[in-house]
């Protein structure tokens, strides 16, 4: 038996993120770029390290190539460890046959052996889809104080959004009394953040029971946690009041990026006591030319800016030529915006090229029909031809010819 580890983390990173469309065509959702130099998975991974959790299993399934390469040996997160560290856990062949991860709970079930190797007292189950900074050590402390079997991180969301979440009801002590899954008329605004802390021997038992139930869809939220609740286990809600955002849709990903420019939003990435680590590109400093106008924006290393940028997030090695204008947009690594092109209210994916005079996206204030307005997306490696127009809400995965409107 291995040396005892108090707490390890299992990070669910197998999601396809189908609502992100072209952005997740070739990569898993946790590998989607965010915030200029990060990828979504940097947040839970950095949270782990900053919380003192040095053993992390990353469960991958959908398009893992990019993610595997990105995580590598875990060095950028200080997770290249002699004991523990980061492990990529993909589905594998077993004597009784091979199975994909059928659900979140099944993914953990299939890796019981991995967890047992570290012999932990507690296991944190995290998801690779959220942007937030959270101290799991404090949550663990709460979990221990309450002598809980499971602690669920909980965020009070605005009432009008509550129906999108799994909701909880708690008593005065924080103990969960009931659940409600995405109700039409919510009676609670205490939403689950998809961050769980379990006492491992309890979770282990319920995972095995869940696996033996053929009717179960092997999901934490739908099956395992309700089962624990019914059996009378002590479930607690751990209140969190920082910034947290599910970046599962184009709109939310776009907003979450622009949130970094909003002084009212509490996600300070410059905080040296809670750094977000990532495998950054080794690029030279950015160059801002004489002709450039850069205001209220985030720009990352290796970029070469000659045009105008306002309220936008530019990733590494982006080129914005003279006379080009980037407004309310997200431009991912290596993209090129040529002379006189306009990118507004849009997301331009990695290595895309916007040729001279092309216009991507529409300003909602100038949009005749607001119903038809939405963020435009240009997929990775796509070229938008000269003077072409990419309309609001369009999602482009193929090259756009010169002068074409899509």
């Amino acid at each position: 038996m291995a040396k005892k580890t108090e707490c390890i983390a299992m990070l669910l990173a197998g999601g396809q993120g189908s609502r992100l469309g072209v952005l997740t065509k070739n990569i898993a959702k946790p590998a989607v770029p965010y915030g200029g130099k990060y990828r979504i998975i940097d947040f839970p991974l950095s949270n782990c390290v900053n919380s003192g959790i040095y053993t992390v299993g990353v469960l991958t399934q959908y398009q893992p190539l990019e993610l595997n390469g990105y995580i590598g040996n875990g060095g950028p997160w200080d997770l290249d460890r002699a004991d523990g560290g980061v492990h990529i856990l993909s589905p594998y062949q077993q004597i009784e046959g091979t199975e994909w991860y059928k659900g979140t709970a099944n993914a953990i079930y299939q890796n019981i052996q991995f967890i047992d190797r570290y012999n932990p007292e507690y296991v944190a189950i995290l998801s690779g889809d959220h942007i937030y900074k959270m101290d799991y050590a404090k949550m663990l402390q709460f979990h221990k104080e309450k002598d809980a079997a499971c602690t669920i991180a909980m965020l009070e969301v605005p009432w009008e959004e509550a129906s999108r979440f799994g909701l909880m009801f708690t008593d005065g002590d924080g103990r969960i009394t009931a659940f409600e899954e995405k109700p039409k008329n919510p009676k609670s605004n205490k939403a689950s953040m998809g961050v769980y802390m379990f006492t491992w021997d309890k979770l282990r038992k319920y995972l095995i029971e869940d696996e033996n139930d053929p009717a179960s869809s092997n999901d934490f939220g739908k099956n395992v946690i309700p089962a624990m609740h019914e059996a009378g286990e002590r479930l607690f809600a751990y209140g969190f009041d920082g910034y947290w955002k599910d970046v599962g849709t184009i709109d939310s990903l776009w907003e979450a990026n622009l949130d970094l420019l909003n002084p009212k939003v509490n996600i300070d990435l410059s905080d040296t006591t809670w750094k977000i680590y990532g495998r950054g590109a080794n690029s030279a400093p950015q160059y801002i030319a004489d002709s450039a106008v850069v205001e209220n924006s985030i720009v990352t290393a290796g970029s070469d800016i000659e045009g105008k940028i306002d309220y936008s997030v530019l990733f590494s090695d982006v080129t914005v030529e003279e006379g080009a204008f980037v407004d309310y947009s997200i431009v991912m690594p290596g993209a090129v915006i040529k002379k006189g092109a306009v990118v507004q209210y849009a997301m331009v994916a990695e290595n895309a090229v916007i040729e001279e005079g092309a216009v991507v996206g529409e300003n909602p204030e100038k949009c005749a029909d607001l119903e038809k307005w939405g963020v435009s997306v240009v997929g990775p490696n796509v070229t938008v031809g000269k003077n072409a127009v990419v309309k609001a809400q369009s999602m482009i995965s193929e090259d756009v010819k010169e002068g074409e409107t899509v």
């Binding site: 915030g35 200029g36 130099k37 060095g75 950028p76 970094l260 420019l261 990435l269 410059s270 750094k275 977000i276 680590y277 990532g278 950054g280 080794n282 690029s283 030279a284 400093p285 950015q286 160059y287 801002i288 030319a289 004489d290 450039a292 106008v293 850069v294 205001e295 209220n296 924006s297 985030i298 720009v299 990352t300 290393a301 940028i309 997030v313 530019l314 990733f315």
Partner: protein
């Protein structure tokens, strides 16, 4: 010649004295350069980019900041089980004389001798260049040279023992002048030296027994007629730091596209220690023109013709022109800076006005608060 068969040696204290202000508390190798680099990143990156797998860094004095920067050598991919990077601090408690190159090499002779590499490449930390060293290796083999010295053509750097050379049509060095007084462009050696290990061992052993101190005078100049010493012309953009003025000018030259293109190439990147800073944030009222800005900066004021290192901050209303702000420097509200070099962790409090001249930049030493 296989690059694997070449042992790289970098002098981190090379000519510390010529940059007194910046090297008061660090080595030449750890002098910040170009927004996010330290000078030693250039020779180290040149070496690993051409395939060298083993590098020794000679550090004779003031090397704590260098050790912090280099760590295990991982940013250069030199943290390895086989070969990799080795710091070579002095063996004895007394500080070694870093201007004495022969002694510096003599003291690390066991390291050199125990290396399995057959050749040794010596480089200086004050030479900024992104060069393809494999061409120099090919040159060395083709000429069947005993020693190959990289040289540049231009204004002579004002450095102690600076050698000026003449080469014949075959690139063989025919004469070596030391500390020549000249105002015209000349061929001067850039202290990129390739030599067979066995020969280096012999030359250094002999020189040490005669108590010689100058590699250029006592080894190169004395042997110019007896050994096959060849000059390899370095055509790439380069700069030899020999004073605060050249340091300032070389940084400023990076605002030219041609210099940036020549120094920062995607197929031979310059590696440096990772800091995990966030990207640069430009505030609502900010203005930035013709400047090089590294990650982690917060620009709320005006920045013009400047080099801003990682984590520096320019507050609202502040104006920074023709200046170099090193790591985590802070310029307070409405302060005005022109031709200023701010070292690491310095603070200019609000409304202060500081001005130097392009030929005499005003220097604010490490951790000073004005």
């Amino acid at each position: 010649m296989m690059p694997k068969n070449v042992l790289g040696i970098v002098y981190s204290n090379s000519y510390d004295a010529c940059l007194e202000a910046l090297t008061a508390r660090r080595t030449m190798g750890s002098v910040p350069f170009g927004g996010r680099y330290r000078l030693i990143d250039f020779p180290l990156s040149n070496m690993v980019n051409c395939g060298i797998t083993k590098v020794g860094v000679i550090a004779n004095s003031n090397f704590r900041s260098l050790m912090d920067h280099i760590g295990s050598g991982r940013p250069w991919d030199l943290s390895r089980k086989v070969d990799g990077l080795t710091m070579l601090p002095p063996f004895t408690p007394t500080t070694a004389d870093s201007s004495n190159r022969i002694d510096s090499l003599y003291r690390i002779m066991d390291f050199i001798s125990h290396s399995k590499q057959e050749y040794v490449l010596l480089m200086d930390a004050n030479f900024v260049c992104n060069m393809d060293l494999s061409k120099l290796f090919d040159f060395h083999s083709k000429k069947n040279a005993d020693i190959t010295m990289g040289y540049c053509y231009g204004q002579l750097p004002k450095l102690q023992n600076q050698a000026v050379i003449e080469v014949d049509g075959d690139s063989k060095i025919t004469s070596v002048g030391i500390d020549v007084k000249t105002a015209s462009d000349v061929s001067y050696i850039a202290n990129v030296v390739l030599i067979r290990k066995a020969l280096l061992e012999r030359l250094i052993g002999d020189a040490q027994s005669y108590a010689y101190t100058s590699f250029e005078k006592d080894i190169i100049q004395k042997n110019v007629n007896t050994l096959n010493i060849y000059g390899y012309k370095i055509e790439e953009w380069n700069c030899t730091i020999d004073s605060m003025n050249t340091y300032f000018a070389a940084n400023m030259e990076l605002l030219e596209k041609s210099a940036r293109k020549a120094l920062f190439k995607s197929d031979s990147p310059v590696y440096t220690k990772v800091r995990d800073d966030m990207p640069v944030v430009y505030g609502v009222s900010s203005s930035c023109k013709n400047s090089l800005i590294a990650d982690g900066c917060l620009i709320e004021g005006t920045v013009k013709n400047s080099i801003i290192f990682r984590g520096a901050r320019v507050a609202k209303g502040a104006v920074v022109e023709n200046s170099i702000l090193m790591q985590d420097a802070f310029v307070g509200e409405d302060a005005k800076l022109n031709c200023v070099v701010m070292d690491k962790n310095t603070v200019i409090t609000p409304k202060k006005v500081l001005s130097g001249d392009k030929n005499y930049p005003l220097f604010v030493g490490k951790e000073i608060v004005i």
